[in-house]
Amino acid sequence: MMRWLRLGLTLLRRERASGEWRILLLALVIGVGSVSTTGFLGDRLKRAMTERGAGFLGADLLVTSPRPIQAWPDHDLDTSQAIELASMASRGDLFQLVTLRAVDAAWPLRGQVRIAQRPFEDGQPGPALPPPGDIYVETGLLSLLDAQVGDRVRIGASEFRIGGLVADEPGRIGGIFGLAPRVFLRADALAATQVLQPGSRITYLYQFAGAPEAIEGFARALKPRLDNTQRLTGAREGSQVLRGPFANADRYIQLTALISLLLSVAAVAIAARRHALRHYDQAALLRCLGATTGQLRTLYASQWLLLGLLGSLLGVGLGALAQQGLAALLLPEAAWQLPELGWAPVGAGMLSGLLALAGASLPYLLRLSQTPPLRVLRRDLPPLPLAAWLSAAITGTALTGLVLWYAQDAQLVAVFLGALAALVLTLAILARLALAGGRWVRRLSAGPLRFGLAQLLRHRLDSTLQLGAFTLALFLLALLTLVRTDLVHGWRQQLPADAPNHFLVNIAPHQQQEVSAYLAKYPIKSSDLYPMIRGKLVTRNGQPITEGLSEAAREDNTLRRELNLTWTGRLPANNEILAGTWHGNRPGDEISVEARMAERLGLALGDRLGFQVGDQTVEARITSLRSVQWESLQPNFFVIFAPGPLETLPASGLAAIHVPPEARDALTGFVKAFPGITVLALDKLMNDIQAVFDQIIAALQLLLGFLLAAGMAVVLATLLASLDARQQEAVLLRTLGAPRAFLAKSLWSEFLALGALAGLLASACAEIAMALIAQRLFELSPQWHPLMWISLPLAGALLVGAGGWLTTRQITRIPPMQSIRALS
């Protein structure tokens, strides 16, 4: 055993410079590097949350509700409550949307709030409740309002002193989704600010803490009383919920990393195959000298294991470096707060590396260890074939295991594998077609170019694989870039110059006249003012709305939250009636529904819908279906009532305005004049959203860098696999008198053609995918990207050309005599 292990390592040391070991190592490093990059970051986030335990939720149990909850089940738990809402904070002529949290003295029941006096200090633990007259704000607000601790800030009708900075609070990791900075104020100071208006979007937070059994009993009793706008969160689910959108982003980022790993597996498999082919003679000889199957297995397994460990370790190291970059991209403010690197992802990375290696190479290893010894006498004797089902089972199990492990969700895995398979199949077909097209080009070409193209066409399977892998990488990279430039930047450019750039929210009915009068004094263009009431769609023709709906439809956003309902007799400018007739000014129980929502929920003209508004139910009949231009930035509504039914209910007004740069001052005055009205700066909001979007895309691009490298590894591995045959051919050509330059040129033309073709295919795929996304998802007209059609093939040609040349150039260097010897 030891002897074979030692021999294995000696051989490995001697052969370490050989191409297949290098590719294998490279592919493993890339694959493991990509999954451990995300693994490390995910782990740090998770530990950031669990290390704070219940402190993350701020309580053992948290109930959130859009309405105050008056009646609770009996309990003797500690309680605390807070009101959260968006509002304006201003200082001088600067103003900023903030998230107000009005707290009592007990907040938070668990964990702690840390208040600092200077930015980026750790701060002192203390209650979230500021002293009277003070507020605590998140550090980010200081620069937005050009303020310092101790300065005075206006919120609604009151003025407060900034008494400290929120350095840490339960549930907050900071960074990516904190668009409206947090402000803590005393609950008893809220009323005086006058920011609470009927119809304001408010969240009531109730915290509970106590003995576990008491909490459990309380939660059991409470659950049936809550409707689905209200939410109960225990400490255990707390971190999940609070991770919120990042939890999903995280999952997709992981899957992106996984694609790199799978591509690497392909590269490893190709390298492993070549390794096996080149070692059958060795294995046969060793069997002749008395090696048993088991001993050969020890020998080769020790080599692979060592290499697997080395590659995985390097990959993990690479991941540890890259995750810091990813953290900085995703959580710019919090990256420094995250816990140290953990050991768990090291284990996970190593395991994925070994699993990937095993899946890709075990079948070859098994074949190698079963080489018949007779091969020493009959060189042509093929190695015993391994039962196809066995190798498929080994590879399949290992890879499915990997994917399952990373996705942790059977449905997601199915979707992922399905999409990947479809993509691979499409790419394979496209590659085949492209190669067929290449035959035409070849006919028209001459000399080395013709020879190079002939190579591409001859190794059809190889070429398909190379094309497929590289196209996939380029395609995803291009798609991501286009999504960013087209959808975000493109959409903004498409907006008319006078598109609204501010929303006025929470306009009380009695303020409407004053607001209009105020705006009229300035060159401000305003939309109609829409009254707004929040209500939940609950019934259809007297039956619960969910009845008869598919699982997916039940989860529709329009059912999960309260809708903004409005009424007007005038069809909004960018809406169009698709069916039925617009109710106009005839008062009655009529509504107009957005057509796509109607389609998703299976609603038809004539259906009676019931909405729960507060504790009342309002019913109305659908008399028209509308299209809505969501991206117009105008106030848009899923459901518009005819004048009448809603008018008696408390509503707040909503208007969109366009404020030209020269009228900016008007807004400062407006915020002071109407303390309760929230001014949403759309352009700023859009900038923030775009910044978040850019962060995520940059993070994905970092991972796609891995993907590109993995695609490259596949290309190199396939090239390497054909190296022996190419060498033989080159020797032949040179003995027949072909000059070295001819060989070099034909190699270059082969690789340049391959890379350019991959670039073209990727461009085509990206163009189609983009057109579909733009049209289906965003209703934008698709556009051409001529620059991409040039840059992608160019980039592909350069990358593959350089990589291919580096792998194969030795062919042209070796004098024919020496190659003849090397081959024999």
């Binding site: 002897r3 074979w4 030692r6 021999l7 000696t10 051989l11 001697r14 052969e15 003679d281 060795q282 000889l285 069997r287 002749c288 000298l289 008395g290 090696a291 048993t292 199957t293 088991g294 018949p372 010894p373 007779l374 020493v376 006498l377 009959r378 060189r379 010897r821 090397a822």
Partner: protein, 247 residues
């Protein structure tokens, strides 16, 4: 004799498993079925090789020489008949058991040398020594390289050696473990006449010095004539078996 070769003190009572008959075949036949028809490669071969004897197997190309050699060495299974190698009936042994039987006790020399390209000359000789668990393997390997006159080339890889030099390394490897029997399949087939002749001299010298049994496949009548016995094959059958010239 090569000047560098020292005589080796042969211990004729060397192993407890010493058998008067090194390898024996009874009614040996080999058939393969190809797409069109069944092909008989060997038929009804009887052979008994005494320990210490040298046998030449000759015959035209395709007559089945290598096939026979492979069967005698236990590299393959016959379709009929039986082989007894070093006192062990091979039919009862599986592939791994046959491998274990070969380890250290059977040496091979091939037409195409079959050195491991990644290892140096010394390491190639070391290979069977280490694998059979010899304690002073390295010293022995050096000693054997010296005996084949390649002491200075110990650290060179096969690629840096000429064909004749490679075959000398292969001879050192084959004899290094003091095998009881050495199988050689056209050991000079890839070499020019001069070099071939020197290799053959060396092979016979080593054989005499170590007292191993030698089974040699060759085209070369002169070479065959130097063996104590010969077996001529034609189309898979023995056409002539008996004592060689100097037997």
């Amino acid at each position: 004799m090569h000047p560098n070769i020292r005589t080796y003190e042969e211990t004729s009572s060397r192993t407890p498993g010493f058998h008067p008959v090194a390898v024996e075949a009874r009614g040996l036949g080999q058939q393969v079925s190809t797409a069109e028809r069944d092909l008989t490669i060997l038929k009804d071969i009887h052979l008994s090789v005494k320990a210490g004897a040298t046998w030449a197997i000759t015959g035209a190309s395709g007559s089945g020489k290598s096939t026979l050699l492979g069967l005698l060495a236990g590299l393959d299974r016959p379709s009929s008949g039986s082989v007894t190698l070093l006192g062990q009936a091979l039919d009862g042994l599986d592939e791994d058991a046959r491998a274990r039987l070969r380890a250290g006790r059977v040496g091979f020399v091939f037409q195409s040398f079959q050195l491991l390209p990644a290892l140096t000359a010394l390491e190639n000789v070391l290979l069977p020594l280490e694998l059979s668990g010899q304690t002073d393997a390295r010293d022995q390997a050096r000693h054997w390289l010296e005996r084949v006159g390649l002491a200075e080339r110990a650290e060179h890889t096969p690629r840096q050696l000429s064909g004749g030099e490679q075959q000398r390394v292969a001879l050192a490897r084959a004899f290094a473990t003091h095998p009881e029997i050495v199988f050689a399949d056209e050991p000079t087939g890839n070499l020019d006449a001069d070099t071939g002749a020197r290799i053959i001299d060396l092979l016979f010298d080593l054989n005499v010095q170590t007292g191993t049994t030698l089974i040699l496949v060759t085209h070369d009548e002169a070479l065959a004539a130097r063996c104590s016995h010969r077996l001529r094959l034609a189309a898979g059958r023995v056409v002539d078996a008996g004592a060689g010239a100097d037997a």
